[in-house]
Amino acid sequence: MSHTHDHDHDHHHPAGSAPQRHPFQPDDPPPTGHYQLMAVALRELLIEKGVLGADEIRAQIERMDARGPHLGAKVVAKAWSDPAYKARLLADGPKACAELGIELDGMRLTVVEDKPALHNLIVCTLCSCYPRALLGLPPAWYKSADYRKRAVREPRAVLKEFGTELAATTAVRVHDSTAELRYIVLPLRPAGTEGWSEEKLAGLVTRDTMIGVTLPKAG
């Protein structure tokens, strides 16, 4: 079954229709919306007036697309390996990222550290604020109304659904990203990783561990 659109939808079938049949997709794409048109018009005007070149726009898209969780993983692995770096990262996220050649373009990164009895979880209840400069595009579930509502109200139930069961003695701290700051979690370095290189450690650090819905595991 192929979808030409990327939104989720329930399948409602008119009475009498075969329930297994997917609704027909229109042959032509839907008309361009107002904001899409305005974006295209703005881009064309900027190029026409010589403010920007088409190649500059393309290069910026390429730059944005190249960002992903591997950047955050590098930062976390460095913090696990170097206590002095960790202290600098917790004190000033953007500056510590710049040390590794990662420019956050003005994003005010705040790193929250897990402790043996403290687990951190990130959400944005108002929209879907996310540290894109460090983790790339957010996953669809992070933007869903369900996650945004439930992560603040019943974080332990949400964590359990991600396979993360915490001891009752571990406090859960939820961070609602409502204004200017963007967050990543610095998880605990897993046991059994003594002597690992930063590169090997970075392999354990996934997007979800930096949002705080799962814990990194050494094998």
Binding site: L126, V152, E154, P155, A171, S177, A179, E180
Partner: protein, 101 residues
């Protein structure tokens, strides 16, 4: 915000007890409804930030407002919260939404 209200914006220190104003103004508000009226503690001062609630309407958002991270106890926020007393939530809140508690 009126000029008089701007002058009354208070500075808070980490550890200080505060309460979020229980207000429901129209507009693009950055203080989530579930936290309005709640009592918490200042976790850190995030410095002065352009007021996003004003910027949303193409106004300057100046003068910049102090922004704070405030920590709340989950059991105080949600009736019947299913978790230990030590569970917490932290939110960034602009100074104009905070009062000393």
């Amino acid at each position: 915000m009126t000029p008089a209200a701007r002058l009354s914006v208070k500075r808070f220190k980490p550890g200080q007890a505060v309460r979020v104003r229980r207000a429901f103004p129209p507009g693009h508000i950055r203080t989530p409804i579930y936290i309005r009226g709640a009592a918490g503690v200042i976790e850190r001062d995030c410095g002065d930030c352009v007021n996003a609630e004003e910027r949303a309407f193409a106004r300057s958002g100046l003068p910049a407002l102090p922004l704070y991270r405030v920590r709340f106890r989950q059991q105080e926020i949600w009736p019947g919260y299913d978790g230990p007393d030590s569970d917490s939530i932290e939110i960034e809140i602009y100074a104009n939404w905070l009062e000393p508690a």
